[in-house]
Each structure stands twice: as structure tokens, then as C-alpha cells.
């Protein structure tokens, strides 16, 4: 059986993306919650933080996939 690096890497990144999306929301929430406690604005900044975290997670996922797709395209071009 031949080891397929591209497949292994795609699987690694897919598993990373799932966790990374959740962690981004959590980090955003934690940052917002800290700011809420500093400025007594609860729960406004927690909500904003969660939303920013969600956007950051999605943006990061899309960017990572775009770069990986571009690399794959370049790789295919050079192997042709």
C-alpha cells in the first residue's frame, strides 16, 4: 500500500479545521468576557467576542484551504 501524503495532509488539516473553528469562538468569547468584567458591559462584549471569534475561525479556515488548494495546483502544474 502506497502512503499518499496529499491524502494524509488533507485529513490532518480537516481534523485541525474542525477543532480550530470551535477554539476561535471560545477565544473570542473569553476575550470578550474579560473585557466585559473590566468595563462592566456584560454581556455585550462577550457576544461581540464570540461573533469575532466565529468570523476569525471561518476566515482562517477559508484562507488555509485557499493556500493549500493553490499549493496543490502549483504541484500539479510542475508534475505535468
Amino acid at each position: 500500500m502506497r502512503f499518499d501524503v496529499n491524502l494524509a495532509q488533507a485529513m490532518a488539516i480537516a481534523s485541525q479545521l474542525a477543532v480550530s473553528l470551535a477554539v476561535s469562538v471560545l477565544l473570542g468569547y473569553l476575550a470578550g468576557s474579560y473585557l466585559d468584567s473590566r468595563f462592566s458591559t456584560s454581556p455585550l462584549l462577550s457576544l461581540v467576542g464570540s461573533l469575532v471569534g466565529m468570523v476569525a475561525g471561518l476566515y482562517g479556515a477559508v484562507r488555509l484551504l485557499q493556500i493549500m488548494a493553490r499549493r496543490q495546483k502549483n504541484k500539479d502544474k510542475t508534475s505535468d
Binding site: Q16, V19, G57, G60, L64
Partner: protein
Amino acid sequence: MPHIELASPVIFSIAGLSITSTIFTAYLVSAVLIVISLAATRRMELVPGRFQNLFEMAVEGILGIATQTAGDRRARRFLPLVLTFFLFILLSNWMGILPLFGDGEIFIRHGVDEHAEPLLANIFRSANSDLNVTGAMALIVFVWAEYLGFRSGGLAYLKEFIWPGLLIEIIGHVSRAVALALRLFGNILAGEILLAIMGTLVPVLIPSVFLGFEVFVGIVQALIFALLTLSFMTLATEHEAHQAAAAESSHH
């Protein structure tokens, strides 16, 4: 009802420094790797013996994978860190299923009494079942990848942080590292708990199936961590690759 303790128990202290079972395993794995590496490279021959051959195969295998991802030049630069992580995680995961290493038993105690005796006196635990260990490795990846990014891209790398927003970019970069640590920790801890519960419910035969499964999970998780480390470093140094490609095309 048994309950699960995530914190690794302290087994002894040296000069006030607490050594937990997972840290002890991490030291043990490091010592084993250092001894094996020294033994494998002590008398290197052009025509390798069995031992040298085995390690050459491992290095060439990971180098081959790294070359396909990052190109020859960057692969050779990233190899020491990626291979060290791979071997450390693999050995830690596999050590975790040896006898004397807790299949989670050490942290499953009967009742909610904190002073209750553990079910079995297994003193060690897989290093990767401690978030501090996986967190430390993820921190190394994060700092090293950012450093490589700044060094290779300079202002162009900094510019990435300005659009679409500093906060979004920072959360994105930090979440990658946190996810890296959490995934490895979660998978290994889940495996240990699974083995412990299966060992308690059906002590004969069935745990062997799960032990075999954990051997597989051990190598897959080590490979995933190594591949992601490689990917993050490759992505951080994309500017360098573009510059090299542009310089090459201007030569032709």
C-alpha cells in the same frame, strides 16, 4: 461511581519542583530517544548496519513527506523539529499502553473521596494525556512558525495582520496552536479512558482489541501533529518560496 481526574498526579518532588507522572514519562521518552539516537549515529557506516538502516529509513521517510509539502530546501530546514515531534509523540503514545503505564486507572478512583486509593498502582501516564505537555509543543510550533514568518516575509508578513483585522488574524493564529494542543491531548486521553473502562468492564480479551487500536491511533496522531507542524511552517514561509520562484524565473 468512578470519576476521572484530568490532573496528572505528583509522584515525587525535586527541590520543590513537582514531578508529575506525565512529566516523568516525558523525561523517560526523551532519555530513550537520546540514547537510541546516540546509538544509531555512533558508528555510522557508508553501508549501514541494521540499526542504522532502520533510522535512515525513518529519517528518509519523513524527509520524503516533508519534501513533497515544503520543497527540498525548506524540508531539510524543518526536518529536525518535525521529526523530533513525530518520534517524541509516537514513543509517548506507545509507552502509554505498556504495563505499569496507567491505562487511565491511576486517575479513576472509586467514589468522590479525594483520598480514595486508585484502582491499580500504575504509576506512569502517557505524556500526551497532559494538556501541559501538548500545550508546550503547540507553543513551540506557534512561536517558531511566527518567527519564521517574520524572518522570511518581513513587512509582507506583517501586512497580513492588517487586513481584514488585527484581532481576527491574531485569533486565527492562536486558535491554530490551541487546536493543535487540544486535539492531541483529547485523542490520547480519550484512548486511555477507553482502555481503562474496557479493562474494568471486560478484563479479558476485549481490551486487547482496543490496545491494538491504540497502537494505530498512536502513530496516526503522531503523524497528524508532524504534518500540521510542517504545514504551518510551510505556510508561514510562503513569501520566501514566492521570492525564490520569482528570482529563479528572472534568471531564466
